[in-house]
Amino acid sequence: MRVAIAEDSVLLREGLASLLAEAGYEVIARCGDADQLRREMLVQVPDVSILDIRLPPTHNDEGLRAAIDIRARYPGVGVLVLSQYLEIGLAMKLLADSADGVGYLLKDRISDVPEFLAAVRRVALGGSAVDPVIVSTLLAKRRRNDPLDQLTPREREVLELMASGHSNQGIADRLVITLRAAEKYVSSIFGKLGIPSTGSESRRVLAVLLYLRS
């Protein structure tokens, strides 16, 4: 699989490129800013682009704009955005109307190599990766008459993994349960929260996040 990187810190950019190369990715572009990434993508389209949310020249919104831009122009390319701070508002802006092939992770996640590579792979294949901190913050958000109170602790765990972008199989693997059991938890959660269950796994990420956000 091919990957393009846009990150202004050389140290991090090279570290990331080595990590991905070691994992068998073909790193086709190592860019210092968003414009360079756009130019590289005109030449060669990767399966997934990884970019820093704060990029030169102003370090304001260049990264996010480039990510949204790439999603619109290359629907088949996964976009994984890395950030030093997590903002729910930014996650929702990035996901906007679909979680297909989108990821938003805290930069620190890079250090958990297997987990990070799994996330890159999910996004490259059209799935989602939402940082657990975003999900846990949304889950912890205070609500009046919180419907989440009806969930069992196990169901909360499943909901958290589901919102982060894990598939039913992924959930089953992590919780060391059968696929069928995972599916049962999922449909029970949808029932309790009144979320219409939708087919695709990335679509349900968005549905759950929107539910938690409101």
Binding site: L12, G15, S18, G89, K93, K141, R142
Partner: protein, 575 residues
């Protein structure tokens, strides 16, 4: 005023004027009484003397009150000069002929007086041209008519016997003089440079009276030209009206006199209560357009009453009276230029208002200083904000990036360690330490400056804030587009601090955050349903928030009745 101050008329000029007036009056009465061709001689003599006395007396009063102005002397000259036309009443052919030659002179004398108002000089090329053309047409034209043998058989000046040509020339002279009178009205009514109709009432009346006089002259001359019936009546009415014009002038003087008595009233009013100084001065000077300025030496600038820098108007219809203190300019009254003719009144008013002007100056200066302090406070805040933003950037690009790169390296190392449990746990511990440091740095950086705000604006930045709030928060934002960064940061901190207070002190079950932009201001409101009674001075950080908001020209208010919840409301002006 730089014109040299002339003395009022002394005894000799007064005597001469009196003698001239008496002689002209006596001669007119004598001529009228003995005239063998004058109908209603009594009425004619009375009308003439009415006009002459009116010009003479008003001229003397004007001369006395305004020795600087030549208008008074011009009026006296016009009054006496007009008597030359009375010689036409004489029975002696030669004297009558001289009178006929000057028959139309009074019309031009009045035109001259009217156009020379207020300083006795003809200002402007058109006024000078009109008056010169008037003298040439009336005196020259009438003489030419006489030379041609006009004015009947007894004309002593006839050198040719062409009465027809004389009559035609006479018609032309009448028409031209009438046209000049009409043109005079146009000059009077023409917009003054830089201003319209005079803004002071007394002057406006006077101009109307002059215009009416000129109009009557024009009508009379044209009626004479057409041989219209009723000429005699219009002639009498015209003479009467012409005598009224100086009376209007006198009324203007009287108005100024009344204004001067108003100085006393001004003094009383200024002493009794705090008043709007400008309005009081405008009333006393009878000039509603009056404005007031103060000289602030430390800014080397004029300022208006609110201390805002201002320039004195550069406009010929306006005049500035500069009031000095210790030889330095101190205040300025900017008023209609016509007030310059009433120097005494202006001096009286400025003297009466001296203390009030002093107070006004102090107020203006205070406002200017406050403005300056507000400006420097905003600059200090902006500089602090910039510095914090720079520190946050340094942390982000420096320490934080390095730590992340380091933990990435450790992660890669970890994958190569295989089953070496000891090494693995050492690496895991190091990674944990780094993660902890990163968390702490993140908190520090966020406290310095919420980076998401610069990049993405208030609504995006508020979302995490609200999600992390200790109670359910209903967030409403009504903003169209981005605001000035300083304003966004202030609003962010107001909400951040208020929500933190809700968690710490309010014992609330829910809160609302409302952010809206409208009517040139950003309004931020955080309301909770807690116990209220918050200490707004200590520990709550509200004082710091108020400083931040006030430095931007805004206002922070807190309502926190015991048992009634807490409402924090910030209003920050923005374009």
């Amino acid at each position: 005023m730089t014109a040299s101050v002339s003395a009022p008329p002394g005894a000799v000029p007064l005597g001469l004027v009196a003698l001239g007036g008496l002689t002209a009056g006596a001669v007119s009465v004598g001529l009228a009484a003995t005239s063998d061709h004058l109908t209603m001689p009594g009425l004619h003599a009375a009308l003439f003397n009415w006009i002459m006395l009116s010009y003479l007396l008003c001229g003397l009063i004007a001369w006395r009150r305004r020795p600087d102005s030549r208008l008074g002397r011009l009026m006296i000259a016009a009054g006496i000069g007009a008597s030359l036309s009375n010689l036409a009443w004489a029975n002696n052919a030669a004297v009558e002929s001289v009178g006929l030659a000057f028959d139309l002179l009074p019309a031009v004398l009045f035109l001259h007086v009217f156009l020379a108002f207020p300083d006795g000089r003809l200002s402007g090329r058109s006024a000078r041209a009109l008056v010169a053309a008037g003298y040439v047409t009336t005196v020259g034209g009438q003489l030419a008519v006489a030379l041609l043998g006009g004015f009947g058989p007894e004309n002593a000046f006839a050198v040719a016997d062409r009465p027809d040509a004389g009559a035609r020339l006479h018609d032309a002279v009448l028409a031209t003089t009438g046209a000049l009178a009409l043109a005079g009205i146009a000059v009077l009514a023409a917009p003054r440079p830089g201003g319209g109709r005079p803004r002071r009432r007394a002057v406006a009346w006077l101009v109307d009276a002059f215009a009416l006089g000129l109009l009557m002259i024009a009508v009379l001359l044209l009626m004479g030209l057409a041989g219209a019936p009723g000429f005699v009546h219009v002639q009498r009415l015209t003479l009467f009206v012409l005598g009224l014009a100086p009376i209007a002038f006198l009324l203007g003087l009287l108005d100024a006199q009344l204004a001067r008595t108003g100085v006393g009233a001004l003094l009383v009013r200024l002493r009794s209560e705090p008043v709007d100084l400008r309005a009081a001065l405008a009333r006393t000077l009878r000039d509603p357009s009056l404005s007031l300025f103060y000289w602030l030496p430390q800014y080397a600038s004029w300022a208006d009453e609110a201390g805002q820098p201002a320039r004195l108007p550069d406009d010929s219809a306006r005049a500035a009276t500069i009031i000095d203190r210790d030889g330095e300019p101190f205040a300025a009254l900017v008023h209609d230029a016509s007030l310059n003719d009433e120097r005494e009144l202006l001096d009286g008013v400025t003297a009466a208002a001296a203390i009030a002007l002093e107070n006004g100056w102090l107020r203006a200066e205070l406002h200017a200083r406050l403005e300056e302090v507000r400006g420097s406070r905003a600059r200090v805040l902006a500089a602090g904000q910039q510095e914090r933003q720079r520190l946050e950037r340094d942390l982000h690009d420096g320490a934080q990036q390095r730590l992340i790169a380091l933990s990435l390296d450790l992660g890669r190392l970890e994958t190569r360690l295989g089953a070496n449990q000891e090494a693995r746990s050492a690496v895991a511990q190091a990674k944990g330490e780094i993660a902890q440091s990163l968390n702490e740095l993140r908190d520090v950086a966020r406290g310095l400056h919420p980076a998401v705000l610069s990049g993405h604006g208030l609504p995006v930045a508020l979302e995490s804030l609200v999600a992390l709030a200790p109670v359910p928060v209903q967030l409403t934002t009504r903003l169209d587009g981005r605001l000035d960064e300083q304003i966004e940061v202030a609003a962010y901190y107001v909400i951040c601090e208020s929500l933190a207070n809700v968690g710490k002190h309010a014992r609330a079950s829910s809160a609302t955050v409302d952010v809206r932009h409208g009517d040139g201001q950003l309004v931020v409101e955080v309301v909770d349903d807690g116990v209220g009674g918050a200490d707004t001075e200590r520990g709550s950080g509200l004082r710091g928030l108020a400083d931040r908001v006030e430095a931007l020209g805004g206002q922070l208010r807190v309502w926190t009745p015991r048992g009634g919840g807490t409402r924090v409301r910030a209003e920050i002006p923005c374009g």
